[in-house]
């Protein structure tokens, strides 16, 4: 299995509080992604990163920010958590291959973080 860890694995917080989820990889892959998974919606991309300090928005980025100061770490922050952000969050990584779009390359997923916002 690819070396991807997520922390925390479970978190319960209250509406309006800030929350930061961490994704850590030991594979030195260039691309990192944050997804959320909800019943009836499948996996939806929140943000992704294509290098240190290089990030971009995904399909459902409102209410979320990300940072990547090191290759191995990708942080997802909810500045002021809302109940609609209750979800399971997955981090994924993929390698960059010369002459091939990153989106073609196999993504390796972390174990997920279950976040509950009360």
């Amino acid at each position: 299995d690819a070396g991807i860890t997520q922390s925390p694995r479970h978190k319960v917080t209250e509406t309006g509080t800030p929350v930061t989820l961490r994704c850590h990889q030991t594979e030195n892959h260039r691309y990192m992604y944050w997804y959320r998974q909800d019943p009836g919606h499948g996996l939806r991309l929140i943000h992704y990163s294509y290098g240190v300090k290089d990030t971009d928005k995904g399909e459902v980025s409102d209410g979320y920010s990300v940072s990547r100061s090191k290759t191995e770490d990708f942080l997802l922050t909810l500045e002021s958590a809302t109940s609609s952000q209750t979800s399971v969050y997955f981090c994924a990584i993929s390698e960059s291959t010369s002459g091939r779009r990153s989106s073609y390359n196999e993504q390796f997923f972390g174990p997920g973080t279950r976040l509950t916002v009360l």
Binding site: L45, Y48, K57, A92, S103
Partner: protein
Amino acid sequence: LAKTTQPISMDSYEGQEVNITCSHNNIATNDYITWYQQFPSQGPRFIIQGYKTKVTNEVASLFIPADRKSSTLSLPRVSLSDTAVYYCLVSTGANNLFFGTGTRLTVIP
């Protein structure tokens, strides 16, 4: 945007071949089609990827017709351990990765 449509669920008996079809009418010329498998409480795991015609690996086959507006994942002789959710992914770039809602496959003894 190449979004995908899959059946919500399917049931199959052990030992049968299972075919799961995904529709992606707006697929772009440069897009590849990728399938992932997800077990409960785990992240998705790559199964197979293709561009056109047929691709086969040790666990599955992927059939893509000439117009590429759909694809079919074929699982030969399924077992109980194949019970999972299967996602079809078509992307137009790293910022347009649409997994869709997936197909929940239940294998019955």
